[in-house]
């Protein structure tokens, strides 16, 4: 199980990479494994989000799951490459499988996120 030390995590299995006031967001290796083959990532539009707002859905063969905003902010970029190659979410969840970039409203919200160690405990990985 790949759980990079330098990322922040949510209890709903998103990861967050913070660079300045921009957060890049995707779903974790654990999440993609649980979902199975991802066939469509539906992120309708760039918009303002409150923490825990649904910003999209992820369709796997067997199931569908909502994507939740880890912090509040504004979507500035959507990973358009996922439209043609959604399998990147499975094969490279922390790289080409990223979903959105957002401008963070309130950096203090980042403190509510889990670090790698806490996320490992959440999913029972050792």
């Amino acid at each position: 199980m790949n759980i990079p030390e330098n990322l922040k995590y949510t209890e709903s299995h998103e990861w967050v990479r913070v660079e300045g006031n921009i957060a890049t967001i995707g779903i974790t290796d654990f999440a993609q494994g649980e979902l199975g083959d991802v066939v469509f990532v539906d992120i309708p539009e760039k918009k303002d989000l409150a923490k825990d707002d649904v910003f999209g859905t992820i369709e796997a063969v067997k199931t569908v799951s909502d994507l939740l905003a880890p912090v509040s902010g504004t979507i500035t970029e959507i990973n358009e490459a996922l439209a043609e190659g959604p399998e990147a979410v499975n094969t490279d969840p922390y790289g080409n499988g990223w979903m959105i970039k957002m401008e963070i409203n309130d950096p203090s919200e980042l403190d509510t996120l889990l670090d790698a160690e806490a996320y490992k405990n959440l999913i029972g990985a050792s």
């Binding site: 494994g33 199975g36 083959d37 066939v39 469509f40 539906d42 859905t57 369709e59 063969v61 067997k62 199931t63 569908v64 499975n90």
Partner: protein, 360 residues
Amino acid sequence: MKKTAFYDNHIAMGAKMVEFAGFQMPLQYSGIIQEHKRVRSTVGVFDVSHMGEFEVRGAGAADFVQRMTTNDVSKLSEGRVQYSTMCYDHGGIVDDLLVYHLGDAFMLVVNAANIGKDFAWLKEHLAPDAELVDRSDETSLLAVQGPRSRDTLKKVTDAPLDDLAYYHWVRGKIAGLEVLISRTGYTGELGYEVYMFADPLSNGKLFDAIMEAGKEFDIEPVGLGARDTLRLEMGYCLYGNDIDETTNPLEAGLGWITKLNKGEFTGRAALLKAKEEGLRRRLVGMMVDAKAFPRHGYEITAEGKPVGKVTSGTFSPILEKGIAMGYVPIELAAEGTALGIVIRGNAVDAKVVKLPFLQK
């Protein structure tokens, strides 16, 4: 929780295991889409040992099976297999099953989740001159499915597979083990199902032997995930989703295995009445063009009004579209009818299509 005799094989092959009907079963290995395409293109192997097997023997066995099932057992002879259903008196379905004519006995192959219910139902109606034995725990079952399944199995058995017709069975040996091989399956491809006495050591070796034989065809193990997408592309019913005690075989499109003229059987009166009154609803196939996929339980609409529920739905790995089955009023069941399926609050356009979804 029960383990099948192939449990160690699954772990060794990196399966993701899930609980299903009280068994630890492989959900997937390499991934549902790859496994699905493997079966459609060459060959895959499924552990379906969770299925139940009952043996019916005795002088009254044939009459008993005839009375308890909807298909015509008098048409079966030794070496043949028949797809059938068992119905309640009210015409609802107890289970769908395979009936094997073994010569001196019948083997009924039932759904894993229904083993207890089916056994009790049969026992309750058992004729004094028939005997019923549950062989589920002592039976392992592998399905070898795909266009290269015959080529694969021929390398490990001397059973005459070239002469084995669809829905027939034969005995033989694989890896030194006595097996019963039938040309049956749940994928729509050329395929075989291999029954054997359950024993982890010998069964595990047999699995390995089949994997080795299929290497040149890129054989892969296939889990329950792809088993479901493969059967749904063919429009095959899954008990608990598409058929159950509240649906009858006629509305489920299983009229072809419901022989109302064969003589008396359980459920016949109710089914005759349903047929005479005219079916009110029908299980149909629906296809969705949007990049949103129908799932079990989603609402089906017509002109904005709810008319039914999706009983099975998925992304089709071959068609790369959403496919679904569900019951709709008979007047909406015609091919081409425009319907909606409510996916996350939006009624997405769906069209009634002919089954199977995958026209081969």
